[in-house]
């Protein structure tokens, strides 16, 4: 098999707040024989906030990143669901609307760039899910007995609606967890929003949304929630104290990136996957895998 190479767009969150997502991504890509070339001089995708203020500028920000990937001749991969959605949507608009593309290309000239709509944008989890056989082969330290609630969240699925694509009943996250030896539970609210930036702008609403997700994960028997987005991780994990204070609950549900779980299953030591930078400790079944990985 030829080595897969992608232009890698880490995004602002992965620089520090979600550094463990970045570290674990780099580690598992190496094991999977995938080359992630970090996009040189990437800029912020605009998150949701930029689109609240100016749509054209927001698209220009995304287009600059797309143009840099195209210059490398590589498809772009983003681990953050927000970044992924923005650049995926921008890509679709630019391919469809040539006047918009011309306008933005006029601006990109200032950075000696141009975008001709030749690349694709992928979310990181898709890239690994397409190669389950290889994932299974590399999972030499399977996470046996670990019950995982696979949390898709919103933007890795929506608003995309490709032909024949099932945005309501996806299975790839579950299949990926099965491939690394874990047991995916039936997590009913797996596609339900975590509240995203409302945690800052409308706290009451967001805390209530987080509470629903935590309760449903527990009801489904999960030891841990697996996520594919830095904002979901922060909302679901770091705000549990606030949820408990608000609703008189006693949640303590660990939340890890799917890449950290994959990394453990590949025998990579916990520290190299950034495990330990969470607010809550890993559950017993994960700790057992951590010990085995450290002994390798």
């Amino acid at each position: 098999m030829t080595k897969k190479t992608f232009a890698y767009f880490p995004g602002c969150s992965l620089e520090k707040m979600a550094e463990s997502y970045h570290l674990s991504t780099v580690e598992i890509a190496r094991v999977m024989g995938m080359e992630l070339k970090e996009l040189e001089d990437w800029n912020c995708c605009g998150a949701t906030a930029y689109f609240h203020v100016d749509e054209l500028l927001a698209h220009t920000l995304c287009a600059r990143n797309l143009a840099m990937a195209e210059k490398e001749g590589l498809d772009l991969v983003a681990p953050c669901s927000g970044c992924y959605k923005n650049m995926h949507a921008c890509n679709a608009h630019l391919k469809k609307d040539h006047d918009l593309a011309d306008h933005i290309n006029f601006a990109l000239e200032e950075d000696n760039l141009r975008y001709d709509g030749k690349i694709k944008v992928h979310h990181l989890i898709e890239v690994f899910s397409e190669d389950l056989k290889e994932v299974k082969a590399k999972a030499t330290n399977p996470l046996t007995g670990l019950k995982v609630a696979p949390y898709y969240g919103c933007q890795i699925l929506r608003p995309r609606k490709f032909e024949h694509e099932n945005v309501e009943e996806p299975r790839y996250f579950e299949d990926l967890m099965t491939a690394i030896g874990a047991t995916p539970v039936d997590f009913l609210l797996r596609l339900r929003c975590c509240g995203a930036a409302l945690i800052i702008t409308n706290r009451q609403a967001a805390l209530s949304m987080v509470r629903n997700l935590l309760q449903n994960a527990l009801d489904s028997g999960a030891d841990v929630i697996a996520t594919a987005c830095p904002l979901c991780q922060v909302n679901l994990e770091c705000y549990q104290d606030q949820v408990n204070a608000e609703f008189g609950t006693k949640y303590s549900v660990p939340v890890f990136y799917f890449t950290q779980l994959m990394g453990l299953s590949m025998g990579i030591p916990a520290k190299r996957l950034g495990i330990g930078t969470e607010f809550l400790s890993p559950p017993a079944a994960m700790l057992a895998a951590c010990r085995k990985a450290a002994a390798v």
Binding site: A47, H52, R192, L198, A205
Partner: protein, 185 residues
Amino acid sequence: MATTVTFSQEIGNLLHAAGGTPVSACMQCGTCSGTCPVGDFMDVRPQRLIRMIDAGFKDKVMATRAFWYCASCYQCTVRCPRGIDIAELMYGLKRYTIWKNQYPEDLIGPAFSETFVKNIVRTGRSYEPVLATSYFFTLGLKEMLSEAQNATMLMLKGRLPVLPARIKRLENFKRMIKRIIPIGD
């Protein structure tokens, strides 16, 4: 001959990105309201809001806070049987009220978004500690303490950036932005 643009058309025109299905296509089925995870917290749910726009109740729509409660999860968008991109409509309404400078003053959303934008234009990257300044002092004492507690915990875990990151070709980046919005220095 000049024609008068209705409020519904005006909002429809904001939906450049949404592919143009106008709100008048709405058949009031209520799927959006039923599916919205934030619906319980909105003063007006999406189905009703769309009807208000279509009926031209501009003042009432402008006084509504619902679109600032939208988390952009796009559940309504993918489920709308008429193909209206409701989440993008919410974005459009946010931009419209910022443009008109008409939104309830106690909302954190508009100030937060504007701080975010200014920060990116300055450095090319987002920097969480600066964003906090846009809302921290609007919080009640209890929220302020819990936010400070979270920040401390993140710092102890090495998850808070000390210095803001910036892109390398920042001058090019700023000139690029000025080609979209032509303003002087």
